[in-house]
Symmetry: C2
Subunit: 323 residues, 2 copies
């Protein structure tokens, strides 16, 4: 029994063909499949190309696919969602095809298909919840110009801001300034401006979060304060989601932390958890999943055909194969 | 004796032909003359068109022009500055032609040509100082993604942020939300997102500062706090400039507040002055000029040929004519 899991993000799309024991028998990566970025026709093509690639890599397993689950960004529009479903259903008739947003698969990569809360913090940030009644909730995710607190963008921007405050004699000395000069290969802080502003400003700034984290590793006080504040913001967003009156979950609430920033969860975790506790939220189980989001799509694909997985052995086998 | 004053901003360029008594005998307005936005050739054309228009409007006064002063944005590059000077000098040979940045003329519109500090707060913000030795200093002005504290953009962004915090149950109720829904003609706060993000996001957000100010007029606490914080940021920037070790000025330092945000200086002035005082800066004279920046260019043009103006009568006459 095989399924296809698809993770469609803002910059790339990953599709994998996996057995219920977690064996990955085919894997393909393409560009973004976000219809808001590239148009619906291009997005459909991207999905088809990837599925086609899986079929060629392992025709035998492909014939035994029983379910497809795609977690896609940019499918808030019901029309887009339906079109994406149709294109996959036409390609794989008579099997279960589900399209959902990419936050759900990120959640499932940590909860193995159970409800809970996921905090995604990559270039942008969003908090997403699925409760035991199947209700969905969202906090944040307003984009880089308005919010995206606790995102790579927010951390990178705060680092830049600190460097310019130091330059203007308005803020304390920070190693971030030195690291930025080195990173951009310039001699003066102002010289970074034309290198930052441009079409890719958002991702350029988000990538500077790594510089802030490096400075924090060196115990730079300004960097540590930025990380602390942004972690608190993430904690506040998770709190807001859990406190939404219609959010219902019995027992401990799983809180899954994912996205590029969480590669450095060692720097953020304590302050996130502390913020939750400060708000009286103790009944949570915070995890940083070992599995990538696309594994959440695979888990959801098995769930769609009522196939229970042996969690630990599935995870271990999957991670052996996953590139 | 007539001079030409030119104010070249990010969206429009104004040129006027004025007598030493402040009588405006010709006035022309064109698009931006910022070479970084439209290229140097287009920028030069824009200046020529305006000067040509002045010459047609009043050929007699034009023949008696003794000096031209242009305060232009985007001429940090010495090459651009020289090219802009040449194009005007070719057009008006044998008379004094000066090109300077647009912050200087904003300063002079408040100091009548004397050194001092100018805080510009329009779509963006920058603090600029000219000391008694002719040294120039700058604080802030890093653009909307990194800083621009106290700008229209910063105020508008803070207003949006407050509305989204309220929506997410993370912040207090604010009239800003109601006013934003009305302004964008939408029913839900999220529905604003596609209307905000786009090519003109920066100016769209900056224009929302008016909404924050309207809410502040109604004594909305969130709006009042935004205005207070942003005013403090302006005060901090002015403080940083005055504290730059090489900035030298005897007696009271003139501090000129200009730009679109300062149309509502009634809301900002107290907290700006209080912030300066909190930093021990008392020897300042803070003014919001009645004259527009282009008048600063006119004053500088007369100064370039050593012509002293009768300040008050010049100002009154100028404002009678200025449209």
């Amino acid at each position: 029994m095989f399924v296809i899991g698809i993770d469609g993000g803002g910059t790339k799309t990953i599709a994998i063909l996996v057995s219920s024991t977690g064996e990955i028998v085919a894997q393909a990566t393409g560009g973004t499949s976000n219809p808001n970025s590239i148009g619906i026709d291009e997005a459909k093509n991207e999905l088809l190309k990837l599925v086609h690639s899986l079929s060629i890599q392992n025709p035998k397993a492909y014939k035994n696919v029983v379910s497809v689950f795609a977690g896609l960004s940019g499918i808030e529009s019901p029309k887009y969602k339906e079109e994406m479903k149709q294109i996959l259903q036409n390609q794989l008739p008579e099997i279960a095809v589900t399209i959902d947003n990419d936050a759900v698969i990120a959640l499932f990569s940590g909860t193995f298909g159970e409800p809970g809360v996921v905090q995604i913090s990559g270039t942008g940030s969003v908090t997403y919840g699925l409760d035991s009644k199947g209700n969905r909730h969202r906090v944040g995710g307003w984009g880089y110009l308005i919010g995206d607190e606790g995102s790579g963008y927010a951390i990178g921007r705060a680092g830049l801001h600190a460097a310019f405050l130091e330059k203007d004699n308005r803020g304390p000395s920070t190693e971030i300034s030195t690291l930025l000069l080195e990173y951009f290969q310039v001699k003066q802080i102002d010289s970074m401006i034309p290198l930052i502003y441009g079409e890719r400003a958002r991702t350029t700034i988000a990538s500077l979060s790594k510089i802030v984290m490096l400075a924090a590793d060196h115990r730079d006080q300004v960097a540590l304060e930025i990380i602390k504040y942004q972690s608190q913001q993430l904690g506040e967003q998770i709190t807001a989601l859990i406190q939404i009156s219609t959010f219902q979950l019995e027992g401990k609430i799983p809180v899954v932390l994912t996205g590029g920033v969480m590669n450095r969860s060692d720097l953020l975790l304590n302050d996130i958890v502390k913020t939750l506790k400060d708000h009286g939220i103790n009944q949570v189980e915070v995890t940083v999943p070992k599995l990538p989001p696309v594994a959440g799509a695979v888990i959801a694909a098995f769930q769609a055909v009522n196939k229970n997985l042996d969690k630990i052995s599935f995870q271990n086998r999957f991670l052996e194969d996953y590139v």
